[in-house]
């Protein structure tokens, strides 16, 4: 099962190595990582999407993460109402003839063209991973030259619905 786990960590050298090493040792498959600073100085936030076998393994993972000296907080967001976003840059083959056509495809995705050259065109899109996948699929026939994705970053929504309604808000259920 896929889980979204966020860590609030002290921004010290080696902390990412410690966290990923721990996941590697316990054979968790990391799907994506995104790391960045937070509003507090010296504090960073990591968002992991990991593939975990069962609940016991998940519990073990969060406990082991919590044990790390530089890890301040571990949150499993998977069963909460959350906002989760990923950013992707997609460079496709394109000439003047197809530019308008591409514009028509990306518009419903609220994506934007961020770079144009004689024979290529770069698109920036933000959203949930499925949305990005869908756009990439639609652009594939034009010939994808390169893609770059940030990995998911997430936090919980300002207000949490009753637990019975959770599934419809949850990203992974």
């Amino acid at each position: 099962m896929k889980r979204i786990i966020t860590l609030v960590v002290q921004n010290r050298s080696g902390v990412l190595n410690r966290v990923t090493g721990l996941m590697h040792k316990r054979q968790f498959n990391i799907e994506s990582i995104s790391v960045g600073r937070t509003e507090q100085e010296g504090i960073s936030k990591m968002t992991f999407v990991v593939d975990v076998e069962d609940h016991r393994k998940l519990e073990q993972l969060t406990k082991q993460l919590n044990k790390q000296i530089d890890v301040l907080k571990v949150t499993d967001l998977s069963e909460k109402a959350i906002v989760a976003r990923e950013l992707a840059l997609i460079k496709i083959v394109s000439n003047a003839g197809v530019r308008n056509e591409v514009q028509g495809i990306i518009e419903p995705f609220r994506a934007s063209v961020i770079d144009v050259s004689k024979d290529s065109l770069s698109v920036q899109v933000t959203g949930k991973p499925e949305k990005i996948e869908a756009l990439i699929d639609l652009l594939r026939p034009y010939g994808i030259k390169e893609t770059a994705r940030t990995g998911l970053t997430a936090f919980s929504r300002g207000s949490q619905p009753q637990s019975a309604e959770l599934t419809q808000y949850s990203l992974l259920k």
Binding site: Q10, G14, L22, Q60, Q64, N66, Q68, I69
Partner: protein, 576 residues
């Protein structure tokens, strides 16, 4: 005259100017470090120089290999219950410590390991004697630091000692680049440290103890399992009071031996792969298993499917990650074992109401299925030899071992009646641990008898530390149970590989008596029962170090045994 006058100001400047290394030494003094185990080298020259210049009364123990230094520090930490301090140089000096760091991590021993590192301007260039020690030690340390500025040294040292010795103890590495220890240091961070991400739970939740009390009252077949956590938490006395008040039988892990008196009528012996029949059956049949400070290691549990399957499991552990890791737990109690036992003593008024039949059953088993060994009239078995050491010393000794047959026999036949008398490599199972660990124990407890019971294989991995015995005249007694084989490997090959003794029979050995002699240590080779019986008492009471080469029968196996993959109720070699 002229050169002197120019030299004068230089000298005074040097005297008033502190280097990073001086700051480090000062920080160690502040932590009341008395003994450092180490080995010098290029990247720690400034630190060794600072030690040389320091007026503090450090005892620096120069071992003959870094592995010896760290195992000695582990032994020291284990019996002293305070961090062992190790100092080694970068590259090979540091990598030689890796086994000891991993060993301390597995057995929760507090260590502060200080290593040199190449200077910051060449870091990452594959410089001479460079190894990425942060990368190497991240998975095997509780925490590790690379010093970026000498300003941070006092704070880092304070944090390191705090992290190593609190909560679940463990090793902490401080890696110091040479230029940082060598250069003058003008300002240091003397503020108290703040570790918001490290707040180990010390006291138990009283509600959970109440729950445990209720379960205990109802239990018909209660059992306590003691682990090393009881020793780390200093809970032995409280445990004994509780156990005697409520008459609860006790079993132990390998590392928990001594937490409860080994000769007590309520003690069932060690449990696990080579545990007693009584203990393993007690775990299988009990209806309440109270695990105090043990981590349900696979050598204890055997096949988990058959482990304590009728029991309500209560688990007291200072490390929340251990609870529920291997065995499903009904009453989790995150707490220091000592604090939890005190809370139990305070809260629990009544014990089990109806468990006399259980006690009778266990007493019957204990009498009917004791540990046994072959005792032929000719030749010595290792078990007999251990028993004789126990008798000769009246059990009044600190015993260290490596891993393997001799370790299991020492655990089975030396009854530890007091805490902190048993030092063995449990989790990592490190050959070559016992002898240097004994050196550390003797330095920590000069007044005690320290006996290293080792095998001929393991001893040869770290025997160079005989130099330390010679140099310091430490009265450590080294007993080599010499079966000219890697006994446990040989046993498994006999049992599970149809007697194909691949590389496990080692008849080519040094003459251990001559070896001892070359270090000016008394060495004795004993081949017969009669000689052993006659000499062992005198040898154990000898004033200086002794090396005993006790020739024991090779074909002996450790029994009883739970074959790998089976439940602990499924033992071979149980004899009525």
């Amino acid at each position: 005259m002229k050169p002197e006058t120019t030299a004068m100001p230089k000298k005074s400047a040097a005297a008033s100017m502190q280097t990073g290394a001086d700051v480090l030494v000062e920080a160690l003094i502040e932590q009341q470090v008395e003994t450092i185990f180490g080995y010098p080298g290029g990247a720690v020259l400034p630190i060794y120089d600072a030690l040389y210049r320091s007026e503090a009364e450090f005892e620096h123990i120069l071992t003959r290999h870094e592995q010896g230094a760290i195992h000695a520090a582990e032994g020291y930490a284990r019996v002293k219950r305070k961090p062992g301090v190790v100092l080694a140089t970068s590259g090979p000096g540091a990598t030689n410590l890796v086994t000891g760091i991993a060993d301390a991590m597995m057995d929760s021993l507090p260590l502060v390991v200080i290593t040199g590192q190449v200077a910051t301007n060449v870091t990452g260039t594959d410089a001479f004697q460079e190894a990425d020690f942060m990368g190497i030690t991240t998975p095997i340390t509780k925490h590790n630091y690379q010093v970026q500025s000498s300003y941070d040294i006092p704070r880092i040292v304070k944090e390191a000692f705090h992290i190593a010795s609190t909560g679940r103890p463990g090793p902490v590495v401080i890696d110091i680049p040479k230029d940082i220890s060598a250069k003058p240091c003008f300002e240091t961070d003397q503020s108290p440290f703040h570790l918001p991400g490290y707040q180990p739970t010390f006291k138990p939740n009283p509600m959970q103890i109440k729950k445990l009390g209720e379960a205990l009252k109802k239990a018909k077949k209660p059992l306590i399992l003691t682990g090393a956590g009881v020793l780390h938490g200093g809970g032995s006395d409280t445990l004994k009071t509780l156990v005697e008040r409520f008459e609860i039988p006790v079993t132990s892990t390998l590392l928990g031996l001594g937490a409860f008196p080994g000769d007590h009528p309520l003690f069932l012996g060690m449990a696990g792969m080579h545990g007693t029949y009584t203990s393993n059956m007690a775990i299988t049949d009990c209806d309440l298993l109270i695990n105090i400070g043990a981590r349900f290691d696979d050598r204890l549990t055997g096949n988990l499917e058959h482990f304590a399957k009728n029991a309500l499991v209560a688990h007291i552990d200072v490390d929340p990650a251990e609870i529920g890791k291997n065995v499903h737990t009904h009453i989790p109690i995150v707490s220091d074992a000592g604090a939890a036992l005190q809370e139990m003593e305070r809260q629990l008024q009544t014990g089990p109401e109806d468990h006399q039949a259980w006690l009778e059953e266990l007493h019957y088993n204990k009498d009917a299925y004791p540990l046994w060994f072959n005792n032929p009239p000719e030749g010595m078995t290792a078990q007999w030899a251990v028993k004789k050491i126990y008798e000769a010393t009246d059990g009044d000794a600190i015993v260290t071992t490596d891993v393997g047959q001799h370790q299991m026999w020492a655990a089975q036949y030396f009854q530890f009646t007091r805490p902190d008398r048993w030092v063995t490599s449990g989790g990592l199972g490190t050959m070559g641990f016992g002898f240097p660990a004994a050196i550390g124990c003797q330095l920590a407890r000069p007044e005690e008898n320290v006996i290293a019971i080792v095998g001929d294989g393991g001893f040869q991995m770290t025997l160079q530390e005989l130099s330390v015995l010679q140099e310091r005249n430490l009265p450590v007694k080294v007993v080599i149970l010499n079966n000219q084989a890697l006994g446990m490997v040989r046993q498994w090959q006999e049992e599970f590989y149809e007697e194909r003794y691949s590389e496990s029979l080692v008849s080519c050995q040094p003459d251990f008596v001559k070896l001892a002699d070359s270090y000016s240590i008394r060495g004795v080779k004993i081949e017969s029962r009669k000689d052993y019986e006659e000499q062992i008492g005198e040898l154990m009471n000898y004033k200086g170090p002794v090396l005993i080469d006790a020739r024991v029968i090779q074909q002996e196996n450790v029994f009883p045994m739970v074959p790998p993959g089976r439940g602990i109720n499924d033992m071979v070699g149980v004899k009525p």
